[in-house]
């Protein structure tokens, strides 16, 4: 099985999904692109099942919060094709006030806890997830602590200001 280059991968994806694949870049050699939540499952399914790509391994699902952006939460998927020896990073920006995205558990069982963790920390609701409960924090927490509006330390403390730690 021959390895596949990022350029070939972009061409394959461009042919299939056209303008749904945007902001393609290759930071440190890792192909990164954005797509939208209505096609994310078809993109993942295509990447997993197409013989040309063969992304059989879901490395990770996580999220990033960008409070200043219009669509403030990026759900980030890292996939790995062990056969073609290439990784890819897929980002989906969703509305932070209505954080819904379809679940990837239909493709990989391993997505289950990764999505629960992302829900727990960022409040992203994965539609269709079989068991979307908090996983690391207690059920009564009430907030999703990795969102940027929640400070790390008690804001009233004077000895633990962020500036002492560089933020």
């Amino acid at each position: 099985m021959a390895a596949i280059t990022n350029q070939e991968l972009i061409t394959i994806l461009g042919d299939k999904f056209g303008d749904k694949i945007v902001n393609v870049s290759e930071p440190y050699g890792l192909l990164t692109f954005e797509t939208s939540k209505d096609v994310i499952i078809s993109v993942l399914t295509f990447l997993k099942e197409s013989r040309n790509t063969d992304f059989n391994f879901l490395t990770d699902i996580t999220a990033v919060h960008y409070p200043e952006k219009k669509h403030g939460i990026a759900v980030v998927y890292h996939l790995h094709s062990m056969v073609k020896r290439v990784r890819v990073r897929i980002k989906v920006f969703i509305d932070e006030h209505h954080p819904h995205i379809p679940t990837a558990t239909v493709l990989w069982n391993g997505a289950n806890w990764m999505e629960r963790e992302t829900y727990d920390l960022f409040g992203v609701k994965f539609d269709g997830h079989p068991d979307l409960r908090r996983i690391l924090n207690m059920d009564e927490l009430g907030v999703h602590p990795m969102l940027k509006q929640y400070p790390l330390e008690d804001p009233n403390r004077v000895d633990k200001k962020d500036e002492y730690f560089g933020r």
Binding site: P27, Y28, N56, F57, T59, D60, T62, G166, R167
Partner: protein, 404 residues
């Protein structure tokens, strides 16, 4: 699973199921996590895993700490092989900053990481022995973890949570005693490992307890995103050290052992063989070090590598760099980087987003224990409770890595 067994539900008045809380702090779980099991006799009908008892919000803390203060956080992920986590983090930042390491530093790192892998696998394999009733093997091999800790201590002064190395190299060179201890370890450990294998590999009781128990197919393992020895025991030859060599692993000659059935016995054998490979890797690294210029233990990157203390007191330039590093006056590129290393339990990934500040904008750890463990409750269904216990030990779940 025996399908002739009656399966009861929770509300069934005739239910004869017993609910068993295995954990949070049960000696057989080797860490703080809970499994609520429904038992029909000794057979597990269903199970629910609860984790998060030692969740310490590392990803949140990391957003408020400069890079070099994040190293101690990584110690506390898989605390049985903290040097691998430390090195993985250093290499992530070095990748971000485009720092190339001298070969000698790479080889020193390989020595440390392989020692850590051995200590991780010692824990897992001796505990499988312990949980199947073979206490002797545990006592024979476990002392070598102590010897590994002594080597760490000689290099960085710490034993368990090592905080070993710096971004850009090591804080100091390995001293003569450290090299002597490594050589002593290389001589003594194979003897003990051989003895350990003699006690267990063909042991009838051990094989009866482990072979054919908790078999996993490669398809299941890949679907659950398993990595590391667990995935290799199912027959998939995926090892980050080979597929994406870091720290000059490409210079070394080693084999990736794989199993066939993914059962507990195969996992045990894969880990044992990895220890042999690690010993060979350390030996190769020691040989390669002889051809490298002595005394080099860090890259020449004064903007990121803290100068020695006596330099700070006596040398203007060093003082300036020290000040700039500690006060965060040096810009790091705005970029995203994912770097993976082969940890004791599998692919340990660091996803770092930097927005140009002195602390990460976002740092995510891909923790192999967390991802491997989610199959446990599902696997346990239909299994005997005593088999589920050794299944858990063979997965080598480390609570720190599970919860982050």
């Amino acid at each position: 699973m025996n399908h002739n067994q009656p399966v009861y539900t929770d509300n069934d008045p005739q239910s004869e199921l017993v609910t068993l809380n295995l954990g949070p702090t049960h000696p057989a779980t080797h860490g703080v996590f809970q499994n609520v099991l429904q038992l029909d006799g000794e057979r597990i009908v269903s199970g629910v895993s609860t984790i998060g008892y030692i969740h310490r919000a590392f990803e949140k803390i990391a957003e408020h700490r400069p890079f070099y203060q994040i190293t101690p956080l990584t110690d506390r992920l898989n605390y049985c092989s903290s040097p691998i986590n430390n090195m993985g983090w250093h290499m992530t930042v070095e990748k971000l900053l485009n720092i190339t390491m001298p070969k000698r530093v790479d080889y020193l790192r390989v020595i440390i990481m392989e020692l850590a892998r051995i200590s991780d696998h010692i824990i897992c394999n001796t505990i499988i022995g312990q949980d199947t009733g073979a206490t002797t093997t545990f006592l024979y091999l476990f002392q070598f973890r102590e010897h590994i800790y002594e080597i760490y201590e000689e290099i960085c002064g710490a034993r368990l949570t090592t905080n070993i190395g710096r971004i850009g190299g090591f804080e100091r060179d390995f001293n003569e005693i450290a090299f002597a201890k490594i050589n002593k370890f290389l001589k003594e450990f194979p003897v003990a490992l051989k003895e350990f294998e003699n006690l267990l590999n063909r042991n009838r009781i051990f094989i009866d307890r482990t072979a054919g128990v908790a078999c996993v197919t490669p398809e299941q393992a890949l679907s659950y995103s398993w990595s590391g020895p667990l995935l290799r025991a199912t027959g998939v030859d995926y090892d980050v050290r080979v597929s994406e060599p870091y720290s000059s692993y490409g210079d070394f000659d080693f084999e990736v052992p794989v199993g066939t059935s993914g059962d507990i016995y195969d996992r045990y054998l894969v880990r044992n063989e990895e220890m042999w490979q690690s010993v060979s890797l350390i030996q190769q690294a020691m040989d390669k070090l002889k051809h490298e210029p002595a005394g080099i233990f860090h890259a020449d990157v004064p903007e990121f590598y803290l100068p020695a203390k006596e330099q700070v007191y006596n040398n203007m330039e060093a003082l300036i760099y020290h000040f700039k590093i500690v006060m965060g006056e040096i810009d790091a590129p705005k970029a995203e980087v994912y770097h993976a290393v082969e940890g004791g339990n599998g692919e340990l990934g660091f996803y770092l987003i930097n927005d140009g500040g002195r602390t990460p904008y976002r740092l995510h750890f891909r923790r192999p224990s967390f991802i491997n463990y989610q199959m446990f409750a599902h696997m346990s269904e239909g299994m005997l409770l005593s088999d589920a216990i050794i299944n858990m030990s063979s997965m080598n779940i480390i609570a720190g890595e599970l919860d982050a």
